[in-house]
Each structure stands twice: as C-alpha cells, then as structure tokens.
Amino acid sequence: MKAVYIMWLRQLKRYWRSRGRMIGFLGQPILFLIALGFGFGPIYKAAGGGDYIQFIAPGIIAMTALFSGMFSGMEVVWDKQFGFLKETLVAPVSRVSIMVGKTLGGATVATIQGIIVFIVCLIIGFRPMNLIYLPMAFVFLFLIAFLFTALATAVASKLEDMQAFPVIMNFIIMPLFFLSGALFPLNNFPRPIYIVSKFNPLSYGVNGLRMTLTEVIKFGAVFDFLILLILSGLIVAIGSYLFSNVEV
C-alpha cells in the first residue's frame, strides 16, 4: 500500500514540476474543441443536431484523458532508459503494487488534465445539464484515464525505446478516438463500423461521460461504468504479469 502511495506521489511531483510542458499538451484538445466546435457548430445546428459544443465537450474531455493517460503510461519507457525502473523493479514489493502505483499516478495526472479542459469548456460556453451528476462525470473521467494509463503502462513494459510511440499513437490511439463517438454520433455510420465501435472501450467512457454531463442518466451509465471497471481490472492484471517478466 505504501509502495503504491509513494509511486503515485512521485508522478504527481513530476507532473507539478513539469506543469508548463504538461499544460502545453492541452493545446491539442483545446484546438480540437475550438476549431471543431466553432467550425462545425453551425452545420450541426442546421442539421438539427442542437448545440455542437454541448455534444463534443464530453468527447474532448475524454480525449484529454485518453492522450494524457497514454503519455503518462509511456513514461515507463523513459524510466527504463534512464535506469530508474531498475531501482523500482529490484525492490521487494509486489508487481501488482508497482503496476497499480504507476497507473494511479498517471491516471491522476490525466484526470487533472481532463478537469482543466472541462474548465476551458465551461469558459467557451459548455453547460453541464445537471450539477448533481458532476461527481459521477468525474468518476467516468477518472476511469477513462485509469484504463488507458494502465493500457499504456502495460504496453510500455514491453518496449525498449520511444520509437514505437508514434506507431502506437497513429494505429491504436487515433482509431480508438475517432471510433468512440467523441466527435460525431456513430449510430448513422455503416453497420460494420458501428459494430467495431462497440468493441472500443473508449466508446463506453465517452458515452458515460456524455450521459452524466449532458443527458438524463439512464441505466446505460451503469453498464458503461461496469465495462470500464472490469477492463481496468483486467489490464492491471495483465500489466502486473508483464512487469514480473520485465528484464532491465
């Protein structure tokens, strides 16, 4: 437990100390928000979709959690290159606590990033439907962050250097993002793509976040919540296993 805490604390300190750079990472989601929000807003409205900012804000917040989580997870590769991972791996602590500590740290950072973007959304006119649901929205935000940090951490345990990072970004993260319903509703898509999106864990995160922020909560939210929770548990288990076999 203490091991988990100290690993979490380390990541938060590192985040705080490089906050300038980390805020820089928010440029991308904010750009998406503004460019798409104002660019497609009128078209969306004309097509009878309502306020586009209301629609994409949850998607962009999810995107922030996804990208930040991914990036935090990949920091394990740097730990490997700079030798610090050795220090962690020879310690007499369970691999589960290493995996959980790293993931919690990265997920907390990604959640904070998501909250900052949420605030930016508020500034440009986004209005949550019901403030009572806000804590639940943050739970979804955290679950998205946790799931994808865990995924990236697990993948990173197998990588030697950052060269694979752009590949992972372009062939895993971007497709996950575009097929999640974050930017546009997926129900009008061709059937095969719609079905694929149902296998995309991020779809459930985006859906849960959107429901708690802008809609009336339905039973579906519980389902989304459970899916994210179970997948997170599964990936933590896989990651712990991978960490027990890392050679440095």
Binding site: I6, K13, R14, R17, V90, S244
Partner: protein, 268 residues
Amino acid sequence: MNKEKIIEVKSLSKKFDSFTAVDNISFEVEKGSVFAFLGPNGAGKTTTIRMLTTLLKPTKGSIKVNGFDPVSEKNNVRNSFGIVFQDPSLDNELTAYENLVFHSVLYHVPKEMRKERIDSMIKFVGLFDRKDDYIKTFSGGMKRRLEIARGLIHHPKILFLDEPTLGLDPQTRNHVWNYIKELNKKERMTVFFTTHYMEEAEKMADRIAIIDHGKIVKIGTGKELKKETKTDSLEMAFLKLTGHEIRDDESTTKKERMRITGKMWGTR
C-alpha cells in the same frame, strides 16, 4: 569447509541471442564475507549480478541467494539484498532527499526510522546541504555518492556493489569502504562487488573471482592468486590471467544509443 554459503551458483550461463555473455560459471560466497568479481570490460560481471538480483533470467544453471531461487522465489530474494548499480538509476526530477524517501518506502524502512537513516546516510556522503536539490543539478560524482547512500539506507543481508567507487575521489572511496567494512563486520552483511581498482579488491575482498569472456578463470584469496600466477601484485596476476589486449566494449553501445534517443525526445 562447512561455512554457511549465502550465494551458490552452479553452471550458470546467459546467452543473448547467439552470444554467450556468461558461460557456465560456478562459485559460492560465504555468509559474512566480502567477495570481489574482477574482469575486463564486457567479461560478464554485470550480467551475472543482474541474474543474481532477479533482473535477468538465466539461460541455464541454478542460483541460490540467501537460500532462494531468483527465478521462482523472486520476492524472497529481493528481500535479502541491496544493490548499487553500475549505471545511473536515480530520478533526475526528484531531489536527493526524495529519491532516498522513495527507496526507504519501497524497502519497508519503518517510518520512525526513515528520517534518521536518510539524514545520517546523506550526511555520510557529504550531501546534506544539497539534499533538497534536484538530481539533475548534481555532478557525476555526487550522483554516485547518492546512489551509494541509497544502497546503504536499509541494511540488507547481502549488498551488491557494481563498480561502486567508479568516478569517486580517493577520499570518498576510502570513506565509503570503511563504512561498508564496518557494516560487514558488525552486521555480518555479505558484500559482493565488482571493480576495476585492483588495490580495492586486494584490500577489501576475502575472496576474488577473475572472470573473462564469461568464464571464471580463477577464484581464491588475493594471496593465492598471486602465488598461483607467480606474480607479486594483483594487477600483474590479473593481466597474466586475462591477457593484455583491450576489449572492444560491445556492452556500452546499445545502452548509450538508448540514452541518446531518450535525449532526442527531450523530456528530461
């Protein structure tokens, strides 16, 4: 000859693809003794330590560290030792003090002892007035000193030191060795170290193993090694056993490359 063995290695080998880095070595280390591993660059010293400390899976052979197998009883093995790595392993974005706290927590140093231990070790290596500075502002020797301080915070049964005094000035080297020797005597802590300083090995080690091209060529006390090679210094004995040619060091290149790539990505 029935002294208690704390490390037992039998027919241990490690292959990287087709290259054999450690080639069928066997040796034992007595509990409470100081054991030195000498060998030219790329001889397989670090690779052996990585296998002993659960970081690398052997290709073949058996190991017992404090009675446990580093492959199947990793956590028990990890509970038995402390280590100072040859390569840097500090977090540059944390302060000296924070690095040591991180270590103490992972090694279960009780909270009430933590501050006292850390303070005393950080004073011991003369970095107390720099304790709240980031590691990235430290000189190479200062980082080395901190790595040693960190390795000594918890008092393990076995201490692995992979070229601990590399890059340290003679004063610090002496100071550090005196302390280690004292721990060795007082707490019967076994010390397993590698070095390229022959006088260090001769002075500190009860037994010395000379390894070359992954094979152990000789094991014995300093005296025995000199006697058997008919030389009058350990350095001469070492050269006689391992030859005079210089090793092209394949080992550094890969890691160096990784570091450089890391730098190009430019985060730390």
